[in-house]
């Protein structure tokens, strides 16, 4: 699936490992290659036939997401899809998490941005393997991009994979990547009505992290109001309040992760 209109332009999706300067250009053209690959005659037949399809438009993405999920399950990998607006602190949250936990668990990171290797390089500086997907004009990651990134990254069994989606609270909501859980991040420097404005993202997330709480005294963000709005979209969503910069509340996030890891081990025993 091409997430851009620029299928035929350079600037499509690229997948690059942190530390490599060789960019792999991977065009994601719709269908198979040439736009004129389909039967293309110029006769004047008027024979038409209706084909009832009832086919899900996102069916291909969902099938690829199932494939990724299956792959994660077989390898005991826990995958988290981190979604938020730009600037909410996803990368800072990851940097601190990786620095604090990298001796306890094996981590991998897939970074999604329209342009630059900046985030993958920030992650690589922590010593964790990172791969950057540049979506070009695309506004979200899709399951096929993750699939191809996985083949490049080859995460080890029983590891934890963080997928940092493109900063955008709208489009990524629609695209299942095969993750075990989706984590929405909002920061207190944004409006506390974000969950009302972008309900789809909160409806499809299992956890909502409220970041930058060290700045609460200086902003007009009401934590309880934000939570109430998010619960309207998703009555079962969980919340954590923390500051990735100061470290305040990070232990609650680590406990949440450890719980997921314990659950995964439990499932592995049952299988």
């Amino acid at each position: 699936m091409c997430s851009t209109c620029g299928c035929d332009q350079p600037g499509g999706v690229t997948i690059t490992r942190a530390g490599e300067d060789q960019v792999q250009f991977s065009p994601l053209t719709p269908g198979s290659g040439s736009p004129l690959a389909y039967p293309h005659q110029h006769g004047h037949s008027h024979d038409t036939r209706v084909i009832e399809m009832e086919m899900d438009i996102l069916g291909k993405n969902d099938a690829r997401a199932r494939h990724n999920r299956d792959h994660f399950r077989k390898q005991g990998i826990l995958a988290f899809n981190l979604v938020s607006s730009p600037g909410s602190g996803k990368t800072a949250l990851l940097e601190r998490t990786l620095n604090d936990l990298k001796n306890d668990h094996r981590f991998y990171v897939i970074e999604g941005d329209q342009q630059t290797m900046n985030d993958a390089n920030r992650i690589a500086a922590t010593g964790v393997e990172a791969i950057q997907i540049n979506t070009g004009k695309g506004c979200h990651l899709d399951a096929d991009m993750i699939h191809r990134a996985l083949h490049n990254l080859s995460p080890a069994n029983d590891s934890i994979l963080f997928i940092e989606n493109v900063g955008n609270l709208v489009c990524p909501a629609l695209f299942d990547l095969g993750e075990n859980a989706r984590v929405a991040i909002i920061s207190v420097t944004e409006g506390d009505d974000k969950p009302l404005k972008y309900p789809d993202m909160f409806a499809s997330s299992q956890l909502c992290i409220i970041n930058k709480i060290d700045l609460l005294p200086y902003v007009n963000f009401k934590v309880e109001r934000a939570k109430e709005y998010a619960r309207r979209a998703n009555p079962s969503i969980q919340f954590l309040e923390l500051s990735a910069t100061t470290g305040l509340g990070m232990s609650s996030w680590y406990q949440w992760l450890e719980k997921r890891i314990a659950e995964r081990k439990q499932e592995a025993v049952l299988v």
């Binding site: 699936m1 997430s3 851009t4 004129l36 037949s45 036939r49 209706v50 291909k60 979209a233 009555p235």
Partner: protein, 114 residues
Amino acid sequence: MHELSIVMSIVDLAEEQVKKHQAREVDRIELDIGTLAGIEFDALDFAWDAGVKHSVLASAERQINRIEGKMRCMKCGREFTVTEPFQPCPDCNDYLNEFIQGKELRVKSLTMKF
């Protein structure tokens, strides 16, 4: 603007079907799109022309069946129509609602030219 990738997915589906049925191109395409599917209809319009260019859908007539959002209140059981994904029950003002319809995103039918 994920509408563009939605259009590209529709083009993919149509190309596959045209190939499978050995048709020439698509004369008409019928889509079911729910008003809660996360699709901006104007953006879809905008993306359509660029997306279908040089494809089997290039000259296809497009019909979109808009499917309105419907929820059922889990407290009182009332069914009500919604225009946004999360609206409270008009009777009990509760947000705990069961989704009935409105998230459809599918190609209903294709009329192919041979």
